[in-house]
Symmetry: D2
Subunit: 96 residues, 4 copies
């Protein structure tokens, strides 16, 4: 993911956008992108949505990850470690 974060930071630095990227507004934007992702299934079954809107699903999912990686980088969170730690916690919460 380090390579991705480098690319994402390059993108926002070239546009001088970091000034807008406080964690509250990044989190708000991530939530809006998650809704746009979900919109691909509005009034549709899972199968219909996944088939009809494949391209947009991929793009909205990418937007969710881009905002998430910006937020993690700004807050000094290592997402790989965070994911592994959360899986560990879930393993304890929901034993096999």
């Amino acid at each position: 993911m380090d390579e991705l974060i480098k690319e994402i930071n390059k993108f926002r630095d070239e546009r001088n956008w970091r000034q807008y990227h406080n964690p509250k507004d990044l989190s708000l934007s991530l939530s809006l992108e998650a809704s746009e992702l979900l919109e691909n299934f509005q009034w549709l079954s899972a199968e219909e949505g996944a088939e009809k809107n494949r391209q947009n699903i991929e793009e909205e999912l990418a937007d969710v990850f881009i905002y998430g990686l910006m937020m993690a980088d700004d807050l000094g969170i290592d997402m790989e470690e965070a994911i592994l730690r959360k899986l560990e916690k879930n393993r304890e919460k929901y034993p096999k």
Copy 2:
């Protein structure tokens, strides 16, 4: 990310949870986790939320990524490529 996906799939397979994981319900859950992430900033400034709720922000962000990686894997989406493609598209939409 391949290693993370392997861990995530192992987690859900050990609990026999793939039967619930259609893309509509995964997308719905991702959106709920994005809201729980945002809740860390409810009635707070960006700074207050980031400081007060650092631990929970990390965990909710991890949940967003876990659902996102499940969804991508189920739909055959390579997230690294999807992110790079989306950045390229954004570069064209928002020129420097």
Copy 3:
């Protein structure tokens, strides 16, 4: 609100849309409209958003209420009573 519900039901009956209106998909749509409402404040302060997007705020808020009233009517919930009951509960939870 009875008059509003009558108008809303007339609207969906004339289009034969009730077949799609199960409470899960209505709730999903209400959540999407709530995000479109919130989008009016993305990257903006409360004042900037309220001034710049007054018209859209009114329309998205109306969409939230329309889906909410459909859902309430379908589930036999009297929204006026539900709101008063919730205020009573909140009064107990947050004493003056």
Copy 4:
């Protein structure tokens, strides 16, 4: 709805909460409540969720309306008129 708005305003004035109620944070809270409403259908069918979580659905729906009515009142929006106007616009967009 005038009576409801009066009750809601009394509730927040008694707690001196209007200072927090700018339209951006009210819209953010409305969106969080809409997600809590949707959570009643997570991993469940529409029927299962509606039956199992009837009480919570009613309460979260009430929270959505309470935030919506606060926001409308603060912005000088008459919700009844706004809903009727939106239905009229929808009638033009989706002819019978």
